[in-house]
Subunit: 313 residues, 2 copies
Amino acid sequence: MTEFDLIRRHFTRAAPNAVLGVGDDAAIVRPTLGCDLHVSTDMLVEGRHFFADVSPEALGHKALAVNLSDMAAMGATPRWVTLALALPRLDEAWAAAFARGFFALAAEHGVSVVGGDTTRGPLTLSVTIFGETPHGQALRRDAAQVGDDIWVSGQLGLAAAALQQRLSGSTELLPADCLRKLERPQPRVALGRALLGVAHAALDVSDGFAADLSHILARSGVGAQVWVEALPMHPQLAAERSRWLAAIAAGGDDYELCFTAAPAQAAAVQAAAAHAGVAVHKVGRILAGEGLCLLDASGQLVALERLGYDHFA
Amino acid sequence: MTEFDLIRRHFTRAAPNAVLGVGDDAAIVRPTLGCDLHVSTDMLVEGRHFFADVSPEALGHKALAVNLSDMAAMGATPRWVTLALALPRLDEAWAAAFARGFFALAAEHGVSVVGGDTTRGPLTLSVTIFGETPHGQALRRDAAQVGDDIWVSGQLGLAAAALQQRLSGSTELLPADCLRKLERPQPRVALGRALLGVAHAALDVSDGFAADLSHILARSGVGAQVWVEALPMHPQLAAERSRWLAAIAAGGDDYELCFTAAPAQAAAVQAAAAHAGVAVHKVGRILAGEGLCLLDASGQLVALERLGYDHFA
């Protein structure tokens, strides 16, 4: 089997929303009239973003999920994606399972794979995704306004707890949701779209809630207070809140949406969440000034050792 | 210095043709009305696509050049690019030099870097480029017609000769053009654009002339004969033609355009080449049937051990 056979067999599928898919020097797509185009890219490296023994099907799912999550964060409808893969060897079973996970999630979201590259090297995946929003409607990080409520979807800290357990070699029984969240995150695409015209600023929580919210604050030129008690968490983690606080507030790999909206939009936010089938929680407020204050139930400041993940720390 | 500092200092530049550049979950660009969008992605891995001791500035140049070459092959005007980097460590001097090479070529072609990702890992680069052509005008691989002339720009085999010398450790004096071609290929973007409406099929020669031309033949459902004597080569390589034949016909890394055009378009092809400031050479003809025949000066068949490069061979 050659590189070209592998691509043909496992990574070339019909791309119904493209003019020309995989197999030429470049794909050809036709952007929707009246829409802006969104582009985001992510790179995943073995031993850093995933373990060497991860199921290839789960990895295929996650490689696309983290990129769909970036589209969700802008309120964009994902449409096309490219996939570049460095593989240590031509392992057909691995490629087939990876492709199964990747294309199943792509089909679920109506996304076509329109380009790719396969080469030999340490296992590395790079996905670039393209999506669309109506002109000027995107949810941007720089759009938070003083007085906005801060919202978070789903629950935080599950993936970080699973990761922490794996790294420590502990055999403690964590909720099954934790590993599922680490290996098969569900990008909040429907929620992001439903928040167009409702929310102001948004992003997805990937590096850690506190670090990611700080990006909104910095780009919008505002500050915020957040009530740690209000951060949505799994009951089993909530039962040992102080132990899991770092995972919840700064763990990362959540792929939930964090967004701001005017208080008058609270009912519209809840309606959008109901439409998307995901719970949302009000966790804080945008303030004038700068910086992020985390407050405990008694109104005291909570300090975190670090706000989020740094790949080079 | 953190990952974010590195990105901010070296990889965040003004993106004048974007609505929103680096720094949000996704960039926002506004596609040109009446244009198709072209997307292509490439991954470069240390030890496979470049040597560990390559100048980072040359590497920055080449990482973008090979993607610009894919746009050239479609006749597309390159507009935006994303860059994902896995780096073994945060080396500021390395990053600065790499960015210098990358952004200098980007500026030359009016391309904006609108997104990126930096992570820790074995040195790996993944670039995704997007460009535009007027609706339905792109030069595709499947458009060759029986009777077309086959053309090649520039000279073939220079980079492969430089690579072969490096791998063999030989100290033979090769033309300086060879190393320049290997390290700093000049993508034929102006030529590709000038060929819109003139050429039928086109691609860029990256894996080896014979292998790449075979892609055109397979996708167009045609065959071809090529006159080995007519393949454009450097005089110093031509002086030892039989020794360098494999490098010229199947070496790869040329980033020249190979294209087909009706014989009646020969003058228009030459005018396009003159406009783009690059020489083009007629090297063969598209025939009915299938397969590629390489003929020597006496009309005998020339056999190649392999047609091109396979990353996993």
